[in-house]
Amino acid sequence: MIYVSHIHAGPIETWATILTVAATAVAGDVLTAGAMRRIGDLDRIRAKSGLGGAVRAVTSSPMFLLGVLSMAASFFSLLFTLSNVELSLAAPASASLTFLGNAFAAKLFLKENVDRRRWLAALFVCAGVFLLAK
């Protein structure tokens, strides 16, 4: 079967949709990561209370639910983006921007140790995103 491409978005629309995917994904990631940090090790909870106990622990967290809402927004933005932008640009670019945004947000909100190694990684990712856009 010959694949027929529907890709037609201009650069502004392309990057606006990719940025929307990334921004909502960062909000979702930080909220769910914060929720999981509060809930604790799921392997241990599952060993103690079973799979149902682990699912209850996760789904009863308001922070987690808010994170899921943000992720749902990100998912529909991704569907929208994938119908207009090539996958090999949209997927890595939005994921890379999500990674960069998460480095800042994790340091700011989750107090993670975003050290020199992780900032260096962020620079490499920035350069990678620049090349992806060419």
Partner: protein, 152 residues
């Protein structure tokens, strides 16, 4: 710096990586059949979620979400997300050989840089120690603690 992820936890990271990239590719294939969604035709998104490729993609992404949440419960967000970077290689190959999308040398170089960048993170500690976690780890059975982090 100790870095002692168990084989089971590496398998969960592998699942995070593969399910995300395969899921994205299935979604892309499904959306190419649905056609372009515009602001004037947002109802097409409802058509999209009845497409078998999109449904399979969603199932893959659900698997991703379960393994992703599990990983987040014992590792930093800034460790788990970059760990999925090898998925970009899978996406690139799937996009090239299955969806027949052209991938320029610039794009290959970009993907390579991203993978190198996240490789730095993967070599570091996976969890920032916090006071509350110290207390939890002290009460945990020996060998259960995934990772003890530290400054570089």
């Amino acid at each position: 710096m100790k870095h002692t992820l168990t084989p089971q936890r590496y398998l969960i990271l592998l699942a995070v990586m593969l399910t995300a990239s395969v899921g994205d590719t299935l979604l892309s294939h499904g959306m190419s059949q649905v056609g372009p969604v515009t602001l004037a035709h947002l109802g097409l998104l409802l058509v999209a979620i009845r497409n078998p490729w999109v449904i399979t993609g969603i199932l893959c992404l659900l698997g991703f979400f379960a393994s992703y949440l599990t990983a987040l419960s014992w590792a930093d967000l800034t460790f788990v997300l970059p760990s999925t970077a090898f998925g970009y290689i899978v996406v690139a190959f799937l996009a090239k050989f299955w969806l027949h999308e052209p991938i320029t040398p610039y794009r290959w170089a970009g993907i390579l840089l991203i993978v190198c960048g996240v490789g730095f993170v993967a070599n570091g500690p996976s969890l920032t120690p916090h006071e509350a976690q110290h207390a939890t780890e002290e009460t945990a059975p020996a060998g259960e603690g995934a990772v003890t982090g530290g400054t570089q």
